[in-house]
Symmetry: C2
Subunit: 109 residues, 2 copies
Amino acid sequence: MTKKDVIIDRLFHALGDPTRRAIVDRVSAEPTTVTRLAQVLDITLTAVGQHLQILEQSGLVRTEKLGRVRTCSVHPTGFDALERWVRDHRTVWERRLDRLGDFLAEEDE
Amino acid sequence: MTKKDVIIDRLFHALGDPTRRAIVDRVSAEPTTVTRLAQVLDITLTAVGQHLQILEQSGLVRTEKLGRVRTCSVHPTGFDALERWVRDHRTVWERRLDRLGDFLAEEDE
DNA sequence: AAAATAGTGAAGTATCCACTTGACAATTGT
DNA sequence: ACAATTGTCAAGTGGATACTTCACTATTTT
């Protein structure tokens, strides 16, 4: 597994869970505290903390602790990686479809 | 859960597994049979079949059986939904950052 | 017709993972 | 100083899930 693969793996694993996507939703709308997230999602603070760790490692969310309160906000890195993945895959099979198109065009001649 | 949420849920769940991403990789490069995928990934035919079911439901892969051989190819629907998800989220927090930028600009005056 | 190939279906297993509880640490309010 | 708030750590639990095996069907090859 290359370093890039690890990043992609972390990213998709992070987004694979609906609760974590809910956190991303909430946090990308506005910065939010751990307690607030626990209230909204109706899970324990501990659970939120665990999700946040995964989300931070995936580059989707950034958190900062001031005093006793940790604030979570969106982080572009993860989204960039995701966008790149989609774009790369799209080009791969679009090229293939292009070649297929050429082939069919030649057959028509 | 709305219908859109179900689609997104299926999609990210499908991509959350490294083996399934490997299948997507392979299949987006060129149409592939079940047996070939089993060889490449070193898992049983049954396992491949199970993954394919999930991938089909997520709109990432399309399969067609001719005679006794099932051929898998890439399907754009899933990618479209994924791209839309990324774009939507990006705009949400980019707008927020814009407002933050405006706010800071006003403070400077 | 017999043998080989390609895949499917049901059932079991083992691992992962989301979540909880309970005990604790650190900060803030009264 | 005390109480309340906010979060963290370690350990446990239940359910999901990625696989496997074994038995079977359907197609192709010889």
